[in-house]
Amino acid sequence: MSATSTTILNLPDQSTARVPKKNFITAEDGLLSWLLTGDHKRIAMLYLISITFFFFIGGAFAGLIRLELLTPQPDLVASDTYNKFFTMHGVIMVFLFLVPSVPATLGNFLIPIMLGARDLAFPKINLLSWYLYVIGGTLVLTTMVLGGVDTGWTFTTPLSTHYLNTHVVTTATAVFVAGFSSIFTGLNFIVTIHRMRCPGMTWFRMPLFVWSHYAASILMVLGTPVLAIAIVLVALERLFGIGVFDPTKGGDPLLFQHLFWFYSHPAVYIMILPGMGVISEVVSTFSRKRVFGYTAVAFSSVAIALFGFFVWEHHMFIMGVSNYSALVFSLLTMLVAVPSAIKIFNWSFTLQKGSITFETPMLYAFGFMGLFTIGGLTGVFLGSLGMDIHLTETYFIVAHFHFVMVGGMLMAFLSGVHFWWPKMTGRMYPETLSKMAAVVTFIGFNLTFLPQFILGYLGMPRRYHAYPPEFQILNVLSTAGATVLGIGYMLPILYLAWSLKYGAVAGDNPWQATGLEWQIQSPPLTENFTEIPIMDHEAYDYDWLEHKTKPEVTTVG
């Protein structure tokens, strides 16, 4: 690879190249072979299909919200319908898309391969977690059909327990079940990472993708059960009127906030950490350099997971918590910015003097770095006590977490899907079209959410479907951006589906990447490796790749 080339893409001769006949997709036929599979790669595919489905349902609600906000008057839907829109949007996007997005698809597919293992430690529990996800998703759809729920995705008490006559218990059950799906995924990852590494795969030879999933798994395992009990208490209070969160009976609504955010704040790190893992892999591959400060990046993931457990009260600064505890939580909140910044700086230094090429995954990764930085820094604004009182419950919050979740996480997800698509399917996506989609997504995203920072700063509250006329121009911009963003998300679906049949044959290692997953055939065999590899080099060792004489890992399929 010369430093001047514009792409590192290296495809086999298309006239002779074939996707290997024997691989995990062709290993068995029939619907049942998929629905009863224990293969982590097939389960990843099942997840990929189901989360994409829910992403578009959640996206449709986002579209409806933006459509209503096009005009200051409440003219599209009534206010309670609008409440249902943003609730369904939040519930679906948080619990059915963002939490499982990267871990359950790319993580599931790649972690065993990256560790040199044949599968996750518990294949049946892995399949069970997909079924739990599907049951949770079905319950959400049921709620939707029955008339929806309008608590907001946060199930705030006593609103959710006493004042609403919508399907709170069904939705709560859905979140409870989907939560267990997440617990089992995390548990499986932790055990796999501890016990299934191949010979020579020490902790500090693992790809950073695995490190960030390890950190996210800790959060899943420790945080999700607390959400589960919070939700059980809400359901019990609704069903039996027992008063644990009801102030008229001596209960404390703030207790619910503590229990809920003890999970739901770490949950944002469950969502973002796996995305950061994707970015580490992509940035290294497309700048042909080992990730700068590997150890710092690895530990920053764990630090984010650790600090992430001690910041939840910043969601409650205006809810009457003690000023002294608010001070402490404000400080801790700002501390989380440190490991996040370590990552951003280390990726930037990885780029420095690297041989950078601009393939689609890298474009999305650049999008991630810019937008996540803005999202993260506005998080520091919100973590400071004075600013928070002005900005909380306004569109500033909405813009902040969409910058992190959509600008950050969704960009990372798309980056990862494009990066590993040739590995997962054996075929390349169309390069020009996909670059276009990345650019369209970036433009659409900024157009949608930058105006919301201004709206929020000017005082437009979130969760209202009417607003003063002077805010209209910014809302129109935002709605226009959402339309562009929608196109940006439709494009990959179309061309990725197209590429399944017509895409160029990718070969084993189209990106000349160093990861173990690139040393085996694409798509991999059911057992991943014909013999278990022995790791004798660091992660991201491009010298090793260049001087590798024999295929260290047998790939014949």
Partner: protein
């Protein structure tokens, strides 16, 4: 947990995994040791999630006990300490038999294992039986939170015939209302614990059938060991619940 038979895998795996001796060995593990360690590590992690799950309720208990100390004392005094103590003994005995079951599996004594699992199950069922009578008593006293909850007992405590005085310090009505929070936590915590017992007894029935078939008599004991961890965990939760709910506020009435 899982012992799908690896011998149904197609030919190539056989050539690669000749060291595999047990039919319970799963093909993706390199060694039996790795499989056993992974299983037990997974179970410990699962128990960690259980601790966090119960932790939410313990946190609520801590908060409300500090806020509503008098109501918690009065409500706690109405719990049936005899039944609670009996259940503690029953549960510890059940745990003892479970420990013996793990030992029996390790020394490959099939009949002993089966009997130990039977005793574990019987004592587990006895616990639930006692719990039924306790809940029934709460129902008769209208101590179940909700519409039928009745605080009159705490406002006007019954008169003790021997002394002619109230058997308990009367509570003002607004304070007495808070006994409902105590009873809710009592039912939520013991109920969730009982649910874990019921799930455990279901698993015991499944393990019994497999033990009877001789699945655990040839050196493969992971499911028994891992279930043992779960069962002991459920015991330990009760060992926290019993003092916190029944004992901690109990005091001789000052005369």
């Amino acid at each position: 947990m899982d012992n799908s038979v690896a011998t149904t895998e197609p030919g190539i795996e056989h050539a690669e995994h000749e060291h595999v001796s047990l039919p319970q060995h799963r093909h993706h593990f390199e060694t039996e040791e790795q499989q056993r360690e992974a299983g037990s590590f997974g179970m410990w992690l699962f128990l960690l999630t259980e601790i966090m799950f119960f932790g939410g309720m313990f946190f609520a208990y801590l908060l409300y006990r500090n806020w509503y100390y008098d109501a918690f004392v009065a409500a706690s005094n109405t719990l049936n300490i005899g039944m609670g103590a009996a259940n503690t003994a029953i549960l510890i005995t059940s745990g003892f038999f479970m420990a013996l079951a793990v030992w029996a599996a390790e020394v490959r004594k099939k009949q002993l294992l089966v009997w130990m699992l039977v005793f574990t199950t019987l004592f587990g069922l006895a616990f639930l039986g006692v719990k039924y009578f306790e809940y029934k008593e709460k129902y008769e006293l209208h101590h179940i939170p909700g519409a039928s909850f009745d605080v009159s007992q705490f406002i006007n405590p019954p008169i003790d015939k021997a002394t002619g005085k109230a058997s308990e310090k009367p509570l003002p009505p607004d304070v007495a209302e808070h006994t409902q929070i105590f009873f809710f936590l009592y039912f939520a915590m013991t109920g969730m614990h009982a649910l874990h017992m019921i799930i455990g007894i279901g698993l015991l029935a499944w393990l019994l059938a497999r033990a009877q078939r001789g699945d655990f008599s040839a050196g493969y004991v992971a499911p028994i060991e891992n279930f043992g961890l779960y069962w002991h965990f459920v015991d330990i939760v009760w060992l926290f619940l019993f003092p916190l709910l029944y004992l901690i506020n109990r005091h001789p009435l000052a005369h």
